[in-house]
């Protein structure tokens, strides 16, 4: 069973914002909404790093826990999606999310805050796969086309990895072994548990 995950390699991210552009272009995300963005850590300090951040599709997603109308659901692949027909735009998910993933359009049905929009792992929403209705609400459904998220596939340095958790963890682990540093994965523990990518599982002999 595939369990979709994101990994951002801070050693490789060059803050080109290619992932942000790819996402906005792929899904025709409206002005003012950024499903993905690049964040600089320790800005101005020698050794600063950049990482690409979006919804991490957490194993125990806090947005799902706090939503008062239960508009979130998790697919069999571990992708956290939501139903915009149910969302009331209350913004609770925005306060709960440790990654700042939920976005709200500047104009919408509910006053100044419309229905929540976030990264779908390029998996669309509850509407029929690949339908126009799905595209207009959630963007392209690349997973149903047999493709991986556009942000990761467009990443010029392959800093952003997306796909089956075992596969991306193996790719990242191999990199860390080859270069001998940079095993820290920002957000991995928060999203998927305490185990870090690149580390040997507990109890494994070194």
């Amino acid at each position: 069973m595939a369990r979709m995950k994101f990994v951002c390699d801070a050693e490789r991210c060059i803050e080109c914002n290619g992932c942000v552009t790819a996402c906005k272009n792929e899904h025709e995300v409206p002005w003012g909404v950024n499903r993905r963005r690049v964040v600089t850590l320790n800005d101005g300090v020698p050794g600063e790093k950049s990482i690409s951040v979006a919804c991490m599709h957490c194993s125990d997603a806090p947005c799902m826990a706090v939503c008062p109308v239960n508009c979130f659901y998790r697919t069999d692949e571990g992708v956290v999606l939501h139903d915009k027909d149910i969302c009331i735009g209350c913004g609770y998910c925005s306060y709960a999310c440790p990654f700042g993933a939920p976005q709200f359009p500047a104009s919408g049905t509910f006053g100044v805050r419309g229905k929540m929009d976030k990264c779908t792992f390029c998996a669309g929403g509850p509407e029929a796969n690949g339908s126009q209705a799905e595209f207009e609400k959630y963007g392209r459904n690349r997973l149903a086309e047999g493709k991986l998220p556009s942000c990761a596939e467009m990443c010029s340095t392959k800093a952003l990895l997306a796909g089956d958790g075992d596969v991306v963890a193996d790719i990242f682990r191999n990199r860390v072994v080859q270069r001998g540093k940079g095993a820290e994965v920002w957000g991995w523990g928060t999203a998927y548990g305490s185990k870090q990518a690149g580390q040997a599982p507990a109890g494994a002999k070194s």
Partner: protein, 84 residues
């Protein structure tokens, strides 16, 4: 004497009935079709069969390796040839 009492009772019962909580089951998310079922798209990736979960998963794994793991594309380092 009894008529107003009955009327008040009926009105009170009707009013209190409105205070009852409606069952809040359902109202959840519409069912979503699994991605391995494929999509109505002209940009489908080849190499897997819609509806076949195993081929979809294998296709994604292969795509992840091909597009994201450049180490798999590099030739294995070889020892320099000994001088003759």
């Amino acid at each position: 004497m009894m008529r107003p009492l009955v009327l008040i009772s009926v009105l009170a019962l009707t009013g209190l009935a409105a205070c009852g909580e409606k069952p809040q089951t359902g109202g959840g998310v519409k069912s979503d079709v699994a991605p391995f079922q494929g999509a109505d798209s002209k940009y489908m990736n080849s190499g897997w069969k819609a509806g076949d979960k195993t081929s979809w998963e294998q296709g994604l794994k292969a795509r992840a390796q091909n597009t994201q793991n450049e180490y798999s594309k590099m030739a294995a380092p070889t020892a320099p040839a000994a001088p003759k």
